[in-house]
């Protein structure tokens, strides 16, 4: 075998003087970086810094460090470029990766700050005063007609369209059964029910074990149509048509055959062991008219439940969304270019698409200019890392945010970016039964619920500091944001004033 020119990215260091040789680390290392030969030894090449060994070492004797090997310095020829070239020179293939874009593009969220009350508009203490985060996703009419009785009671004259009720403006991003384990799905489903929010099934269909949670599910119709049948569509409270994904705009999906076991085969309705390829285009959608037909076909099939359309954020996103809304979508799901993924060509993940912040601002502006903002809700997604990102997204114009990676991090993910290998040591991005069972859905749900409760408290605190007691007063209220270190054109697109003004 030819010698690889690559060098290990990490070094696993074990304090053998304190190691009791219990081999728990070896059992936990799904990447087979650790083995035993008189003592625990590491194959540094295989370590992905998933930290599983560190967390489960009873003696705390394991350290994983970035390999401190120096390269000849170059601002232009970064280590990243050199390593990628060596990989390509050795394989002739496209380097794949998991999770989101990690290049140092400016993260606009981190250059936005929020307002706060001082004297004239008192801040509100959310521990003592009501603080409302309830949000409804879906089409709203521009106005309403009421009937009023003599004793002051009111009722609607017409039945409005169906909407999705959320007790906080957060949903789980579409992550398919296949890309992540059933236990991860179960944890999200339990959390969604407990927190009064919803999860997306992603394109992998809905496992029968989760049918009890279908009131909290948005089901997805992606190009591969995996698991899409009448029962599935009817079970969801809404249907999402996936056009694009932030991590890989214009790229389809691929679940390797080795991940397609019996359960996934049944759920996706494909033979065991076959590759599940979902192409970039839907082969019945080549125009906005085609999309409109599919939207209305799904509405007919589901008794007019809300239909969402998910797209990746790209340069012309505002015009595209205008078309999508006019085609009848009730929800538009914007997935920014930092969004996560199970597997993506690195070149696409890192260089295609635009930041969510700019896309969101442009879309909200465009829909308002056209007077159709009420006709669809906007879900902002693509690396919402904290409640602060969520709050800023809502102030820019989102109705709600979707979280994928953040949810996975809550249940153990270390963002090691190797989801595509299917060896996730935490039992999240894997279908290997011995790994998937590491994730206890109830414990994972508890962690997710805790994280969302914490976000809920944080959002309420910030709303209170802004003197607001309802989330709808922040939605699109860019007046409450200021930019720091953003250029004038970026500020202009965001519709945000610079700090100090």
């Amino acid at each position: 075998m030819r010698k690889s020119y690559l060098i290990p990215e990490f070094r696993v260091e074990i304090d053998h003087t304190r190691c009791r040789r219990c081999k728990r680390c070896i059992m936990n290392c799904s990447y087979e970086a650790l083995s035993f030969s008189d003592r625990v030894v590491a194959d540094h090449f295989k370590c992905v810094a998933c930290h599983r060994c560190i967390v489960f070492c009873p003696e705390n004797v394991i350290t994983v460090r970035k390999n401190p090997v120096d390269f000849k310095e170059s601002f232009n020829w970064t280590n990243r470029h050199r390593l990628d070239i060596w990989k390509q020179a050795e394989t002739g293939g496209i380097p794949l990766t998991g999770m989101g874009n990690d290049l140092p593009y400016q993260i606009i969220w981190d250059h936005l700050v929020l307002d706060a009350c001082q004297v004239t508009n008192p801040s509100i203490d959310p521990l003592r005063e009501p603080m409302e985060l309830r949000t409804y996703l879906g089409k709203k009419p521009d106005s309403l007609q009421f009937e009023e009785t003599a004793d002051g009671k009111i009722k609607l004259k017409e039945k409005p369209p169906k909407n999705i009720k959320l007790e906080m403006p957060v949903v789980f991003s579409p992550m398919s059964y296949g890309s992540i384990s059933l236990n991860a799905h179960k944890a999200m489903a339990m959390t969604a029910k407990e927190m009064g929010i919803v999860m997306h099934t992603g394109e992998g269909g809905l496992h029968k074990d989760l049918y009890d949670y279908s009131d909290y599910m948005i089901v997805q119709c992606a190009s591969g149509r995996f698991g899409v049948h009448a029962e599935y569509l009817k079970r969801g409270i809404a249907v999402d048509i996936k056009i694009g994904q932030g991590a890989k705009p214009g790229i389809g999906g691929h679940l390797p055959g080795e991940k397609v076991g019996l359960d996934i085969s049944k759920t996706r309705m494909i033979p065991i062991g076959t590759d599940a390829l979902s192409p970039a285009p839907h082969h019945d959608i080549y125009s906005i008219e085609d999309l409109r037909q599919l939207i209305y076909a799904i509405k007919e099939a589901t008794n007019y439940k809300p239909v969402s359309v998910k797209i990746a954020t790209v340069h012309n996103v505002a015009a595209i969304v205008s078309g999508i809304v006019r085609a009848g979508a009730d929800i538009v799901y914007l997935d920014g270019f930092r969004g996560g993924t199970g597997a993506s060509p690195k070149i696409v993940r890192d260089h295609v698409g635009i930041p969510l912040e700019l896309a969101l601002a442009a879309v909200d502006d465009r829909l308002r200019e056209e007077g159709i903002r009420n006709q669809a809700s906007i879900i902002a997604a693509g690396s919402i890392r904290s409640s602060a990102d969520a709050i800023k997204a809502i102030a820019l114009g989102a109705d709600a945010v979707a979280i994928g990676t953040a949810a996975l991090v809550a249940i153990g993910c270390r963002v090691c970016q190797t989801c595509h290998m299917g060896k996730c040591a935490w039992g999240i991005a894997t279908q290997r039964p011995e790994l998937a069972r590491r994730l206890d859905p109830e414990i994972a749900a508890e962690r997710l619920i805790n994280m969302l409760k914490a976000w809920k408290f944080e959002i309420k605190e910030v709303l209170g500091s802004l003197g607001l007691n309802a989330i709808e007063s922040l939605r699109g209220s860019r007046e409450r944001l200021r930019g720091i270190g953003l250029d004038a054109q970026t500020l202009d697109i965001l519709g945000v004033k610079p700090a100090g003004k």
């Binding site: 009501p130 709203k140 106005s143 009671k153 922040l474 939605r475």
Partner: protein, 365 residues
């Protein structure tokens, strides 16, 4: 002084009164009521709105316009002359007072839109809509001109000064109306300017406000979707436009409009019977961007009545009283007792519960 300031944030005192039988009350009554609340202002703004003051021109829109300079006046007048029949135009009567030395040029015009109008953009609009567009157009495009009143048989009078000074300046004791509102302003972060004083008006709607609309940003963006331009950059402006949108354009009642502006909490909505729950849920869903968040007490005058409304956690004071035909609303009870020492009933409206008083009717909450 122009409108290119940041929005202002106000403290403020309010007073309002209405004679349900349309008995015309002299201006000195409202002046007597608002002046004792001097500490609620700082001399940087005061104003009055009065209904029933132009009975001879009750079919005409009464435009009150401030001009910073003659050029603005020329441009605005040429637009008005081209698009409106003018029954009368004159300087708004006023006099020099000790403290009000500098002020804009103040004119009023009693007008009706012409049947055939050259305004190419909005020529097809009906009367009220055309007037709204005229107000937006003058306020946003003619530098140095501000329409500060545009209703029928009503008018706003406002400026920089304490209420007593503004009343003296406009000689309000010479007017009589069946609804009056008054405002004493305490701006804290911008200089007071004539256009920024209350009331804010559009058509017959007039608003005086104590507080700050913390949701101003989204209220403004919401209104812009329906063609309203918030040119005065003062948070109160949005309240007048929101009423115009909901009541005049969308045809919902004052009561329901108030329930959108100061919406009931979800926990209270959830406890309602199904039909009502659905109605209030949708009211919040559709008009969420119109919700007025932050502290406020407002008096909302219109050609058929007067409405008092507090924010939904009552962060600003509002007291009401009733005596026979008259209903009074003010920031402080003393302001009412000054002009009605022994009212039959005094009450403090609950948070978010509108007090709606209509002319020629006993209907009220």
């Amino acid at each position: 002084m122009n409108h290119n300031y940041q929005k202002d944030i106000s403290g403020c005192g309010l007073s309002g009164l209405i004679s349900r039988s349309k008995k015309r009350i002299p201006g000195e009554v409202i002046i007597k009521s608002i002046c004792p609340m001097k500490d609620r202002g700082n001399g940087l703004g005061a104003g009055f709105a009065a209904y029933g003051i132009y009975p001879d021109y009750s079919d005409y829109y009464a435009f009150h316009i401030m001009y910073d300079h003659g050029t603005a006046k020329d441009i605005a007048e040429s637009f008005i002359e081209a698009n409106y029949e003018i029954a009368k135009q004159e300087r708004i009567p006023h006099k020099k007072t000790e403290n009000i030395v500098y002020h804009p040029m103040l004119y009023r015009y009693f007008v009706k839109p012409k049947d055939k109008r050259p305004d190419s953009q909005f020529a097809e609009l009906e009367g009220d809509d055309f007037v709204v567009r005229t107000v937006m157009n003058i306020n946003s495009s003619i530098e140095g001109a501000y329409v500060f009143s545009s209703g029928k048989n009503m008018g706003a009078f406002k400026g920089v000064g304490f209420p007593s000074e503004i009343a003296e300046f406009y000689m309000l004791e010479d007017y009589a109306g069946y609804i009056w509102t008054a405002h004493n302003r305490f701006p804290t972060n911008t200089p007071g300017w004539w256009g920024g004083a209350h009331p804010f008006t559009l058509l017959d709607w007039s608003i005086v406000h104590n507080g700050e609309i913390s949701s101003y940003g989204i209220n403004k963006r919401y209104l812009e979707m329906f063609g309203y331009s918030c040119t005065l950059l003062t948070d109160t402006e949005v309240v007048a436009y929101l009423f115009d949108l909901m009541v005049r354009k969308h045809g919902i009642s004052f009561n329901i409009a108030c329930k959108a502006l100061a919406a009931p909490f979800w926990k209270d909505i959830d406890a309602l019977p199904e039909e009502e729950r659905e109605a209030y849920t949708w009211l919040r869903m559709v008009y969420g961007s119109a919700l007025l968040n932050g502290p406020f007490a407002i008096l909302f005058g219109h050609s058929n009545g007067l409405i008092g409304l507090n924010d939904r956690i009552k962060l600003r004071p509002l007291v009401c009283a009733e005596n026979g035909d008259m209903v009074y609303m003010a920031s402080e009870e003393s302001a009412i007792r000054e002009i009605c020492p022994k009212p039959e009933r005094v009450w403090y409206p609950r948070a978010g519960e509108p007090v709606i008083v209509n002319l020629n009717s006993d209907e009220k909450n």
